[in-house]
């Protein structure tokens, strides 16, 4: 069996019924797709298969012979982030970080298909991706900002400027 993973061709030894998730993590050594539930419920293992966001845990290797796979490792590195990665960083959309790879792959798939995605498009694309930390607001904001091209991928670090807190409790010493 062979796959094109992040642009490189791989000949794989895993049996055809092995899940793509296990192929990527255990044979290829790409660790960004996570095994959150291994039953298609949580979205942490999402990768792009020929450009479409798919659950790697539910996809047997034998069903995708020759397909092009993209994982987070194929999006960008710390010096050269993709717009979605830069937006997630700038908007604090990653908290514990475990759902982040799946979220980013779903968002990347959406924006490739629909660069002018609306809020409803984003909610639809992220449905079935579970985040237990953020409450989703920052994630949706990040994807919308990447869609609008409002992300500077050349300066990914948010500026560390001291400023006034936006909410001041009357009488608080802060």
């Amino acid at each position: 069996m062979s796959l094109i993973i992040n642009g490189a061709e791989y000949e794989l030894a895993s049996p055809p019924l092995t899940s793509l998730l296990n192929v990527l993590r255990e044979e290829v050594g790409l660790l960004s797709p996570k095994a959150g539930c291994q039953q298609g419920g949580c979205g942490t293992c999402t990768v792009l298969i020929d450009g479409e966001p798919r659950r790697a845990c539910l996809t047997p290797l034998g069903a995708i012979e020759g397909a092009a796979i993209t994982t987070v490792e194929g999006l960008g590195d710390p010096r050269n982030l993709s717009p979605v990665q830069a937006a997630f960083h700038e908007h604090y959309a990653a908290q514990c970080g475990f759902c982040t790879p799946g979220m980013m792959m779903a968002a990347t798939g959406l924006l490739a298909r629909r660069p002018d995605a609306t809020r409803d498009d984003v909610l639809e694309a992220l449905a079935g991706h579970f985040c237990r930390c953020t409450g989703y607001v920052k994630i949706v904001d990040a994807v919308l900002s990447a869609a609008a091209g409002r992300v500077d991928t050349t300066r990914p670090e948010p500026e560390a400027e001291p400023g006034e807190p936006s909410v001041v409790i009357p009488g608080s010493p802060a």
Binding site: C42, P78, Q85, C96, P162
Partner: protein, 457 residues
Amino acid sequence: MKAVGARLPRYDGLQHVTGQSVYVDDVRVPDMLWAKALRSTVHSAEIKKLDVSKALRVPGVHAVVTHEDVPVNIVGHLAALGVPADEPLLAEHEVRYQGQPIAVVAAETEEIAQEAVNAIEISYEEREPFLDIRKAFDPDVPKVSPSGNLFVYEPYTERRVRKGDIDWAFEKADRIVQGVYRPAAIEHCPTETQVALVVPEATGRLVIYSCTQAMYFSMGVVATHLGVSLNDLKFVGGTVGGGFGGKVDTAAETISALLAIKAKRPVKWRWTREEEFLCSSVRATWHVEIADAVTKDGWILGRRTLTLHDAGAYTRFSSYGATKHAFHLGGAYTIPNLSFNAYVIWSNHVPTTAMRGFGVTSVSFAVELHMTRIATVLGIDPWELRLKNASRVGDTAPTRVVLKDPSAVPTIQAAAQAAGVELASEYRAMTNAPRKGKTLPRHLVDQLGAWRDNGGR
């Protein structure tokens, strides 16, 4: 204070968005084995037979452990604080909850380990489970522990908080307002399930990759079970795929360590999503009854409460959580006469544990609903009822701690502002300054004693 209010980059932000954060399941070591557990399929039972010999004969199996392999099987998560040890790492003669681990296998793959678990022979004599904590005081209910269903706070069976003269308050009250509040159990459901990887070193030291939220708790629990000192363990943690309190419990480390010692190979135990839901600890069910003695103009003279906390099958951190709960039952309000009773009740549910605001979210839920209930019964504005009774500088908490900088008044004002509620001018102008005049009715004078005796500090 340069950081407060500033947009600072997350220290781990770049590695999160580039997929480079290394969680326990991402650690790769050679020769690693995988673990799977035989867990109880029933809520409560005597174990009549446990035979692991067939599991040991499955090709690819390297170790099977049962309670007989655990140097110190029964440990308590708070044993270091003097809370009696009550929980076996692996079940001995009985199981007290569905999902309780009984025997664990390490094998070349997860599939082989599961096949070996399926080969273990076990038989139960089922007992009637105890599942409704509201029946804890009924005669003839099933006993979860030989000592009964109540954790004992020496010398009482409940955590008690007493202040002032509760009988006076209920005699003087214009109305008694009562309510029952029952926050339900919640699974933390982190996207990363419970997982541990234990690598034995040639020296005998164990390297334990852990998803724990509570490194030193976990080190203590593992060292106690294994009967080793802390310097025999090297814990590696710090990257947690969500915890929310559920990873304060030491869930996977100790058993993985036993397997690694026995197999002399690294062992990883990665819980399935089903195990996370069915067998990992949860936020407890609480049952909170409140009766308040109130005046018709909205002062709370006294509060009696009864809390039942569902600890599940073993104590873990429940006694601590219910203590914290009991101390906070006044809420953000100053009530001079109090009688709080909080019981920790064992049941045949999965053990319960910390979750965001451990012990106190149940208070907030119950007390804030109750404040609104009082306002409704008395026909008083709920914001004003809260502000009137809100704790002020110099007031004393249920524990008699003198409050130096309580934030209830500005917090309620800010909430009203955010909700677009126009407060009457006297409530808009209210501060947390010490009580005097209209804000110091006769029944609150005595509770200021400790503050006054201390020269107003």
